[in-house]
């Protein structure tokens, strides 16, 4: 019922909104973006309209949670289905493909793909078929505070392995510095640790093998070992006080205020640490460093394997040829460079990292460009039902509330129920 009324309501809204009718309208549903980025999208839409008369391109925005809640309904309604929409890929996209809401555009985008990052491009394929055009990528490095590292006599260059990392944490603690800040109240920030441990121990295919049920699925030794290592880290009490209730926002402000030495977080932390800091400025760029997650002894993963999100616009089944054409138009070097220069996002267009002005962001973009393997966020890759269980168990294992074995079994149980 609620779905039906929602669909009806959104259909009415759309009918009201579509006052100016063009011959063909391309609507793109996007999640909320800042004003600068919105202006950027509008420019591209205007450029396209100018060179393609009779086509109107409209960007619509919904807040993140509202977007996720409304999309299933909108996709089912012939009236309110957008031509293309924002996607994190992974399990949700697979469900959309399976339900037949997306269009196979493999042939259309063949000439665009070669310019884009291979990993980002692959992230939006299901069984070798392309359903969207990626444009944004991201990575999760360890951000560190150079001043606090210096105070404790820790050198970032020396942190290569897990043991180096644990040693650094002990040194920071001994110097009276909170080693790590984590917003475990929202759970997903902690799942970055678990994810990286799985990647470093099991290598590139650890997650896809587990999903396919190989070698005991999620109950296999890699996932159990990752839990043990996470507990080993947490047993040193490296996190800020009360970390189990800390929100992501609070954790960013703690880092920005210089009250913790490290934060394993997505590239967006760079902006967020300054906007969330008590003084509104946060750490100076010169005081922030980024490094890769350490490798594990005997692990199959490499230091250059990176965790992070990719974002694309996926094309819906009823989208017109204009919609696909617009996405191809948008995937030009010109716009990728503009996005890089404006700092709106990290474009997937090859070579665009050189246009990024901010040195740290450029460093992350370079890590991404040179990555040996790019893994989508586990909770996106697995889809919400299993993904959120991974978030849950990451916190529970870290806090010693759950054994690594029980955690691995809980993920498998969720996968079985799916």
């Amino acid at each position: 019922m609620s779905f039906r009324t929602l669909a009806l309501a959104s259909a009415c809204l759309l009918a009201l909104g579509a006052g100016a009718r063009a011959d063909s309208t391309v609507t793109i549903l996007h999640v909320n973006d800042n004003a600068g980025a919105r202006a950027f999208w509008d420019t591209i839409a205007k450029d396209y309209e100018a060179s393609h008369s009779g086509v109107k391109v409209e960007f619509k925005y919904l807040e993140n949670e509202a977007f996720k809640a409304k999309l299933p309904t909108m996709l089912q309604s012939d009236d309110s289905r957008p031509s293309a929409f924002y996607s994190w890929g992974g399990g949700v996209m697979e469900a959309q493909v399976k339900a037949g809401f997306l269009k196979d555009i493999t042939a259309d985008v063949a000439d665009v793909e070669k310019n884009l990052s291979q990993t980002a491009d692959d992230a939006f394929k299901v069984d070798g078929k392309a359903y969207g055009v990626p444009w944004d990528t991201g990575g999760v490095p360890i951000f560190y505070n150079k001043k606090l590292f210096a105070k404790a006599g820790v050198k970032a260059e020396d942190i290569k392995t897990w043991d180096d990392f644990l040693a650094a944490i002990k040194a920071l603690k001994a110097a009276g510095v909170t080693p790590i800040v984590v917003g475990a109240g929202e759970k997903w920030p902690m799942h970055f640790y678990y994810s990286y441990l799985v990647m470093r121990i099991g290598g590139a295919h650890a997650l896809s093998d587990a999903k396919a049920g190989k070698d005991g699925g999620f109950k296999n030794a890699t996932f159990v070992e990752a839990g043990k290592r996470l507990r080993e880290l947490a047993a040193l009490e490296p996190f800020q006080n009360g970390y189990l209730a800390t929100s992501h926002q609070q954790s960013a402000s703690t880092f920005g205020d210089g009250k913790a030495a490290m934060d394993l977080m997505g590239d967006w932390l760079l902006n967020m640490q300054s906007s969330s800091a008590s003084d509104g400025k946060g750490l100076a760029e010169d005081d922030i460093g980024v490094m890769s997650f350490p490798t594990l002894p005997g692990g199959k993963g490499q230091a250059s394997d990176i965790l992070g999100g990719n974002h694309a616009f996926l094309v819906t089944k009823t989208a017109s040829a204009d919609a696909i054409d617009f996405l191809k138009f948008f995937s030009q070097e010109k716009y990728a460079k503009a996005a890089a220069e404006g700092g709106y996002y990290i474009p997937v267009y090859k070579g665009s990292e050189a246009s990024i002005k901010d040195p740290i962001e450029r460093q992350i973009a370079t890590m991404l460009a040179n990555t040996s393997y790019h893994q989508n966020f586990f909770d996106q890759d697995l889809g919400p039902s299993v993904g959120r269980v991974v978030n849950d168990i990451s916190v529970a294992v870290a806090a010693g509330q759950m054994t690594p074995e029980a955690a691995a079994a809980a993920i498998q149980a969720a996968a079985d129920q799916q």
Binding site: M1, S2, F3, A69, P72, L75, V92, A95, Q96, K98, A99, G100, F101, G185, E186, K187, N241, G242, Y243, L244, A245, T246, G383, P384, S385, R388, D392, V395, A396, A399, Q401, Q417, Q418
Partner: protein, 300 residues
């Protein structure tokens, strides 16, 4: 026969009139009830038999498995206990508190009205806003909790990070937020109590506590029973405060039934599973509402 005819005719006419009234007045109400109450309920029960993530058709019929998963889930039982705790705390702390305060402010004087307003204010606040304010107050680094521990030179306390204590924090907020509502109920009840009864009790030599327990409280009976009804229903509906303060954490120890439904059904896109939780919640609510009305409120 001839005598009986007019009687039958009259019967038939009233029957016809009654039918006309039914045909005329029933459809709007029936339609609204069907569209907004019955259909959603029926649809939710239907969904609960499927493994469905909200995308595509209902294809994977799994019978009662979703219900099995609900009853296997320790978080569900924790949520059920948490709902029960709200009811217990409401009866042992919130309602007596509201009763006590209402006795103090039931007078029709200006001061009493001011205090009534002050005590009623938390109830007027939006739940989410109140939750966020309290979340900040409980913060061990910057909040009121930090100020208190700092004052006594104690170690900072992180109430919301403790699986043992986080739910107590929510109970505090629930008591604070809603006791004003019950106070108002009791004030209304007290103002309806016949003063002459209290006066005659006083003349007969009743002590103040005797006056309260033998006269006022029995006369407030319907209000108290109504207040208990509201507190149980409120407990079954509680969501916003949990979402704002803990979002169910740490380790899913602070969920209520509704937040459990939201975080495990909706945000995880397990529509079938969420529907099963909804049906269970619905059965509990209906059983309580009818049972309570029939057994406790039958004379009110």
């Amino acid at each position: 026969m001839t005598v009986a005819t007019p009687y039958v005719e009259q019967r038939r006419r009233t029957n016809l009139n009654a039918w006309a009234a039914i045909v005329l007045f029933m459809p709007p109400a029936l339609l609204l009830f069907t569209v907004f109450v019955f259909l959603p309920m029926a649809e939710a029960s239907w969904y609960s038999f499927f493994n469905w993530n909200g995308y595509g058709r209902l294809e994977r019929f799994i019978g009662l498995k979703n219900y099995g998963y609900v009853f296997e889930d320790p978080v569900f039982f924790r949520a059920l206990i948490n709902n029960g705790l709200i009811i217990v705390v409401s009866m042992l702390v919130q309602l007596p508190l509201a009763m006590g305060v209402s006795l103090l402010v039931a007078e029709r004087t200006r001061d009493a009205v001011w205090f009534r307003l002050i005590f009623f204010l938390p109830y007027v606040l939006a739940d989410i806003a109140a939750g966020l304010i309290w979340r900040f107050m409980f913060d061990g680094d910057y909040g009121l909790a930090a100020a208190i521990t700092g004052l006594f030179g104690l170690q900072p306390v992180y109430l919301l990070a403790s699986p043992d204590w986080a739910y107590s924090a929510i109970l505090i907020v629930v008591v604070w937020k809603y006791f004003g509502f019950y106070m108002m109920l009791f004030v209304a009840g007290l103002q309806g109590v016949d003063k002459s009864l209290l006066e005659s009790a006083e003349i007969d030599g009743a002590s103040p506590s005797q006056k309260f327990f033998k006269v006022t409280l029995p006369l407030l009976g319907p209000m108290v029973r109504l207040a208990i009804f509201f507190s149980v229903v409120g407990s079954l509906q509680l969501f916003d405060i949990v979402a704002a303060i803990t979002a169910g954490g740490p380790f899913n120890t602070t969920h209520t039934m509704v937040s459990f439904l939201y975080y495990f059904g909706i945000t995880r896109m397990r529509v079938g599973y969420g529907s099963a939780i909804g049906v269970v919640l619905f059965i509990i609510s209906v059983a309580f509402a009818f049972g309570y009305k029939r057994l406790v409120m039958r004379d009110d």
